[in-house]
Amino acid sequence: MTSFLRSIAAEFTKVFTTRLWWILAIVLFAYIGLLAGGLAALFAGIQTGVISPDAVNTGGGATPDLGSLPPMIYSFASSVGFVFPVLLGALATTGEFRHQTLTPTFLATPRRGVVLGAKTVTLVVVGAGFGIIALAASLGIGGGVLNAFGVDALLLDQETWMQAARVVLAMGLWAMVGVGLGVLVPNQVASIVIVLAFTQFIEPLLRLAASFLEVTAKIGNFLPGAASDALVGATVFSFASPIAVAPLDWWQGGLVLLGYALVATVIGFAVSWKKDVT
């Protein structure tokens, strides 16, 4: 047990003694801040009539019903920001292979399962920290903009803070997915390409394609991004869907995401982590 705790302390030191974490954190904050602030301004403007509906609704239909704005704006923290903890987790893991630091790591802690467990715990915590940073942007900037447009930002609402807690959990789980991907695909470049291609391109397309039929929409609910959105709650994807299929419950979404992370980690342990370090 002490070896596990020492391993966790060492893994935390690893994360915070290189520049990657704060570079990703700054980009995450700026990205989510811009997006949440910008879209909050757009949607709140439409909803309050500051921006004329005709300016955005060229189809001539009625003013779109955007539902309650704050939960959607706040969910950007994870529905858009999730790629950052995935990258952090994947880079932290593949970096060990790339820089051959597995050698000193396994010399100091020969039990490799302990090391991978410690890395997972560490990155879940740091990923959750990324969740807090992303929320600071979506709640702080997005909420501030909503407030400026006279829309109730619901910052005192209990549901807002329950959602925030689920964002933190989702971001922690995403970092764990990153670690799992890192051991599954130890090649750092390949790992980054997979993260970016899957999260920014393949999955959104799959979710869109799945949403046209009821049966595929139900399967689509189990895609990692959909599971994460189910865990967090409101998201831009939920009103883009032409067929109304109820998303998973929040806890089901969380378990599906955890499942992806665990499966990737366990398989990765077998295919790369416990192999010869040459």
Binding site: T2, T13, T17, F106, L107, A108, D276
Partner: protein
């Protein structure tokens, strides 16, 4: 004072996808001595050391420290310190933080980091990112990692590689001092001359197999000695040698006669009235013996 334990390789074999890297390797390394683990590149030295350290799984056989496998050591870094050839650093981490990570993992006090950095002469570069280190500095940092737990056993893969002459002198003294304190020191090299002045014992492998084991002096075998002889009247000398049945070849500095006894040649020449200009025994150096061993051919 940490005391060394015996390193024991017992029937270690390893093949990578059908290619045998190490074949039935057995030897022991004693505490209080510096043992050179020698062989040409690709002989299987690094693979053997990585098996010893639990980084590579042997196909068969066991490698232990005082009878205990590396993975079963209760405090690995305080028992065994290892520096392997590969530069195992994150380039963006400072030397102090690099060592700090593993000090934490091994439960060692952070003061050890400062101590070992001073010990290897990197105190002034502790806050520098390792990415900017020279090869020699990386070698020293690798050694600092090995020393972190003040271990009784040191396993160093090619520790002299990349060091400047001053660094080489320093590491020789350092390894001698470590062994004098009763520690077990195992260092690998592909060049005998690099470690000749530091080692007490040698273990020589080639093509994954053990080919020589013993004290350094045991290399001084002189298996096929030669005597160099020459005369202003070389024709008379060659005729006399042929008559006496001594084979020879013509070398750069004279005739290379296949005998270890200069007196025999001197007597032949004296009896035949031939003046000699050169007569001395040529002794094969340790390096020649070493090269002959790893080439698999007898000493010339």
């Amino acid at each position: 004072m940490p005391t060394g334990t015996v390193i024991e390789f017992r029937n270690i074999s390893k093949s990578f996808g059908g290619v045998t890297a190490v074949n039935d390797l057995s030897f022991t390394v004693e505490p209080g001595r510096v043992t050179g683990f020698l062989g040409p590149n690709g002989a299987g030295k690094t693979t053997s050391l990585r098996i010893l350290l639990g980084l590579v799984t042997a196909t068969s056989g066991t490698a232990t420290f005082g009878g205990v496998r590396y993975s079963a050591l209760p405090h690995p870094l305080t028992t065994v310190g290892a520096a392997l050839e590969a530069a195992s650093f994150h380039p963006g981490r400072t030397a102090r933080n690099h060592l700090g990570v593993y000090a934490i993992a091994a439960g060692l006090p952070r003061t050890r980091v400062t101590e070992v950095l001073g010990q290897v002469g990197l105190a002034d570069h502790a806050a520098q990112r390792v990415g900017g280190y020279s090869l020699g500095m990386r070698q020293r940092l690798g050694l600092a990692y090995a020393l972190l737990g003040d271990p009784g056993v040191l396993v160093l893969d090619e520790p002299v590689n990349g060091l400047d002459p001053e660094g080489i002198r320093w590491i020789r003294r350092f390894l001698r001092a470590m062994a004098a304190e009763g520690r077990t020191v195992l260092i690998s090299s592909h060049l005998l001359s690099e470690v000749q002045q530091s080692v007490d014992d040698v273990v020589i492998i080639a093509r994954g197999e053990l080919i020589h084991l013993g004290p350094l002096a045991s290399l001084d075998t002189d298996a096929a000695p030669q005597t160099i002889v020459d005369s202003p009247d070389r024709e008379a000398l060659t005729a006399e040698l042929t008559k006496a049945g001594i084979t020879f070849s013509i070398g750069r500095t004279g005739l290379l006669a296949a005998t270890s006894d200069p007196a025999l040649l001197g007597h032949l020449a004296f009896a035949a009235g031939i003046e000699l200009s050169v007569l001395h025994r040529q002794k094969a150096g340790l390096e020649d013996s070493f090269l002959a061993l790893v080439d698999g051919s007898p000493t010339r």
